[in-house]
């Protein structure tokens, strides 16, 4: 109970999929220049995406609550994990770290005084509170 079941490899192998295959096919097609996706490849990608969801949730949770259980997995845990994991680098723009408005304004001010208006600051603008 205390340790989160974070390890996706311990799962029983099986041929059941939970995510809708048709949706995964649409997602795959959105990035492919060739149209043909075999059923086998579709199955594997669906499985793989499911594994990724388990992995991401499990890792973020394990990271945030090493010892205690019964806590809430929050967005911040995910963005922290993404920020420090090399293989999650592709998610940096998708799950950016939140910053406060005044921090953002400070960043803008520094950028301006440094004379460089970098586009990167846009990705950090998804802040609330």
């Amino acid at each position: 109970m205390v340790e989160p079941k974070a390890n996706p490899v311990e799962r029983q192998p099986n041929a059941d999929t939970f995510l809708p295959l048709s949706r995964v096919r649409t997602i795959m097609k959105s990035s492919m220049d060739t149209g043909l996706i075999t059923n086998e490849v579709l199955f594997l990608m669906t499985k793989c995406t499911e594994l990724f969801v388990r992995h991401l949730a499990g890792e973020a949770y394990a990271d945030a609550f090493r010892q205690k259980s019964g806590e809430t997995l929050k967005y911040e845990h995910l963005s922290q994990l993404v920020n420090k994991s090399k293989n999650l680098e592709f998610l940096l723009q998708i799950v950016p770290e939140k910053i406060r408005v005044h921090e953002f304004q400070e960043m803008l001010r520094l950028n301006r005084s440094a004379g460089s208006d970098d586009d990167d600051s846009e990705s950090g603008s998804e802040s609330d509170e």
Partner: protein
């Protein structure tokens, strides 16, 4: 092709279930975290698909294969996924083969062999264990 960006979303209920299964029972997940994981999963599928497509093209193949995906996962630092996916794939292949054989013996003309539904999948699994 994709007409609306929502077509790339994965169903929330399935994502919620997958997350729940990978966390301790007492854990909860914030809405924002769940939405971020769902988004990340879509992007992951696109990322792996385009990387696998690039790999296939490099070998002068037009269509990606299961092997391309597994190799890509290794290159993208997700080699921890490969063993369990390989097992899933074996079971899937066996299931498709069994289906074909039983279809041939029954001279059944139905064309939906590959997209097996969950109950037959489970039955096949029991039989193969």
């Amino acid at each position: 092709m994709v007409e609306r960006i929502e077509d790339l979303n994965l169903p929330n209920s399935v994502i919620a279930r997958l997350i729940k299964e990978s966390l301790p029972e007492s854990a909860s997940v914030s809405k924002e975290a769940r939405a971020a994981i769902a988004r990340a999963a879509s992007v992951f599928a696109i990322f792996v698909t385009s990387s696998s497509t690039a790999l296939a093209h490099k070998q002068n193949h037009k269509t990606i294969t299961a092997k391309d995906i597994l190799q890509t996962l290794g290159e993208l630092d997700f080699e921890s996924f490969v063993p369990s996916l390989t097992q899933d794939l074996e079971i899937y292949r066996k299931m498709v083969k069994d289906k074909k054989e039983s279809k041939a013996s029954k001279k059944d003309t139905s064309t939906t062999a590959e997209n097996a539904n969950a109950s037959t999948t489970a039955a096949t699994e029991d039989a193969t264990e």
